[in-house]
Symmetry: C2
Subunit: 145 residues, 2 copies
Amino acid sequence: MRVISKSGEYGLRALLYMASNQENAGYFNIREMSDELDISFHFLTKILQVLTQKGILQSYRGPNGGITFLKNPEDITLADLIRALEGDDFFDKCLLGLPGCGERQPCPMHAYWMSIRNNLKTEFETTTLADLGNDTRLKQFRLIA
Amino acid sequence: MRVISKSGEYGLRALLYMASNQENAGYFNIREMSDELDISFHFLTKILQVLTQKGILQSYRGPNGGITFLKNPEDITLADLIRALEGDDFFDKCLLGLPGCGERQPCPMHAYWMSIRNNLKTEFETTTLADLGNDTRLKQFRLIA
DNA sequence: TTAATTAAAGATAAAATACTCTTAATTATT
DNA sequence: AATAATTAAGAGTATTTTATCTTTAATTAA
């Protein structure tokens, strides 16, 4: 089950990395992060730009510039991040992909899937980056098979 | 959230259709089904072939041929169907897409995601086509916006 | 003024997905 | 035996999505 795209994966990895290296102070240099996380610099830059536009991160140009959190990690939920990178309707799609499926015209899977989807949504909405980042320091951001 | 591919959607729609029209007896003609469900005949044929190879359906060639259930709808779970069409590792993938992520080398999201994933898996493993097909007769297989 | 950085937009490449076409095999009917 | 109706199988094509790269602009520090 591919739940999120590469953009989502990279964004999540980047934010977890940042959340677990907050002592860093100042701005995170994107080039360094992209090296560290083994993500294409330009691709990562674009992803972080989106998160900046969505009000999750804050950027600063010029020497010693970079990015940092605008909202605190305690206030950024997994759902925020995923909605920003995968689209606002992420948690609202019909399992069968039928156009027009909804309360008024439910598809055969509607009620069943909605309940599952809502559980997932709740889970993601109540988990913050801080929750995840806490003991992340010890863990792997890059695993090589 | 796109959980399943078009193949998965089409396969699920087709099986729900069949499960809710069992009085039909005999074999379901694929051409008719593809018309009814508005799915390309050749594409649907291929999907159903996979399900036949996986031992979920049974086919019969020649005049009045078609497909029917090999296993009973009460014995086909959503998980069976999805595994057949999306791959056996559907419920086992790392949220971050990291190679080598597992118990021995967990990624930062591992424990968290595994628990969510397992709930979903259990849900899908305990829901059969019969459960879903029961009152499907009344519902829409094609919704037009 | 220069160098270091992110911003932005567009171009390209690669991969995955979706779909189509053709031919073969099987079966019923005549 | 011949024909027509079907699914099987595999190859081929098209489309879409995802990922990446390139270039230029804007901003800032030194």
